[in-house]
Assembly symmetry: C2
Homo-oligomer: 341 residues x 2
């Protein structure tokens, strides 16, 4: 249960071909203009509809739903509608977040709003949300509507809080605290992974306590994932991450490494506090990354990642998973902690 | 059952105070920034949060849900979660449609995106969708998730088709046909009213055939409503409608009166076809309205409104409603046909 690897585990590679046909079938039922934008977002086609094979995301939420269903005593195929629902919600939230954040690139391609316009991208996101709901209704999970509603409410609250952070200072009494950041990340990243895990368990007929344990597993996994994401957002290799070097710093994002560094009280922290008062470019970006590291921001963020990873494993253990898929879930968690992309 | 009136019926006035407290409670649970935008959209506050009492819509979907619940043998209060869900979906779709259409005014106030920015308005719409889903999960209707998913899928398909119409010509082989327009309106306006009626019946414990009859009632009511809306969009009094004179013509919208006029083959139709090739302003707007009327566009649209109104009444009759609320539903339908605002 303690495999350490930077390579994507087999479970991710296995999830995609199981879920993709059902995803494609759902999307084929949309209005042609919406199906085109959705197919583009999943990396299945170019903006003009030409079939391509662009990187379309990790299928992480799918893998969690399928593996949890198996770990809870069910079959992976029974969780396909769950996987479809959570992948659609994830894709919908990326589409809309990219509009709000003004992000022009995702996985090294123009974002949907950049390629098709903001209005159409809003609508395509809405349509994927509607499809997600249809898929949820077909899971056979009695609480599917509730589960999806709760994760959507959390997603929007997390994004609202993330947007509100932009208007708040890095330092001083109104500064964003580490705890506030973690609460935001729990909503924005943890909730949907928790939903994927909980619905995967529910579809396998698990009882309330087991469903809750898997939800905690997904939730904590999401927090570990986000902490690692924040590290990669500053120190990641652009060739692996598909994102620009120091991208989060350049955009003035209040991420965990920066917030931790600013609370360390060290000399590096004081210098960093002065530096982040203005937009960062070129040499300042490198300087800021060095100061965040010297002030312990990277180490502390790594610590958060490990803590939530440990909590995820603890929740997983308490759900008493079947050994094979249980090991796969632990391997997936280890990969998310050690990944470089 | 054949009351003809241009005054809003009591049932609309009664629905609002029943549903609004539950709506307000749901919205109060949102992130403060999202609650503000939602409250603004419903006409409860100004953009800075100051309480106001601005016109916040007709509560038409609420009234239909509550009255159908009573007509099907239940109590109005049991349908409050249904009413909350459909009002939230309606408000969400207006918020997002206003972004896509670039509309700057709604009910004589700046639209949400105009007052708060497009990104925040996208998110506020998403949050209302999530709340709608939470409300639907609480209706006690087993098929609530399905019902809402289907109406959302229809809404997005209708809006996609409406946007696609903009890029198509008024005349020639690629012109938008009247049948295509009606299919779009069934998706964009009929589906949600059908959902409100169907869920109102389901919450009262009605059987499948009765639920389906009420869904047809709502659906046809929506089509009649849209036809009247199209007439008011050209010939309505701006003081009553809150919209500019000839607004739909000025925006080059392909509405039912124009499409009908263009297919009449009359001399007025030919002149209209030439006129609408370019954007209309000032005197051309008045001329276009006159030509649409002369070519029979207004009369034909009135005919569509009456046809769908009749079909709605027929569906209502087949559901064998309880007399009191059944009469109220017929009165509501008559009002929608004869309204001037």
């Amino acid at each position: 249960m303690t495999t350490v690897t930077a390579l994507p585990p087999d479970s991710l590679a296995r999830a995609k071909p199981l879920v993709e046909p059902a995803l494609k079938e759902a999307i084929a039922g949309l209005h042609p203009s919406l199906a085109l934008m959705s197919g583009y977002a999943f990396g299945w086609c170019a903006a003009d509809g030409t079939p391509v094979c662009a990187p379309g995301g990790k299928a992480l939420r799918s893998a969690v739903a399928l593996l949890v269903a198996q770990a809870a005593g069910g079959a992976a195929r029974d969780a396909i509608p769950v996987a479809v629902a959570v992948e659609l919600v994830h894709c919908f939230s990326l589409m809309h977040d990219d509009i709000m954040d003004g992000d022009e690139l995702r996985r090294a391609r123009p974002t949907v709003w950049k390629a098709f316009g903001s209005g159409p991208a809003v609508l395509a996101g809405d349509a994927m949300m509607a499809l997600a709901l249809q898929a949820a209704a077909r899971t056979g999970v009695e609480t599917a509507c509730d589960e999806l509603a709760d994760s959507l409410t959390s997603l929007t609250r997390g994004q609202a809080e993330d947007l509100a952070f932009e208007a708040r200072p890095f330092t001083g009494p109104a500064a964003v605290s580490v705890d506030e950041y973690l609460a935001m990340a729990r909503d924005k990243t943890g909730a949907l992974l928790g939903c994927a895990a909980a619905m995967g368990a529910a579809v396998a007929g698990a009882g309330g306590a087991t469903v809750a344990a898997y939800r905690r597993f997904g939730n904590e996994l999401g927090l570990a994932f986000q902490a690692v994401d924040d590290i990669l957002g500053i120190w990641g290799d652009p060739r692996s991450t598909g994102k620009p070097v120091g991208g989060d710093l350049a955009r003035g994002k209040k991420t965990l490494p920066v917030l931790e560094a600013l609370t360390s009280g060290s000399a590096a922290s004081t210098r960093l506090a002065r530096l982040v008062q203005r937009p960062l470019t070129g040499g300042d970006l490198r300087r800021a990354a060095t100061l965040v590291e010297r002030a312990g921001g990277r180490r502390q963020t790594r610590h958060h990642a490990r803590t939530h990873h440990q909590r995820a494993l603890h929740a997983l253990k308490s759900a008493t998973p079947r050994p094979g898929p249980g090991d796969d879930l632990a391997e997936l968690a280890a990969y998310l902690l050690h990944r470089t992309a």
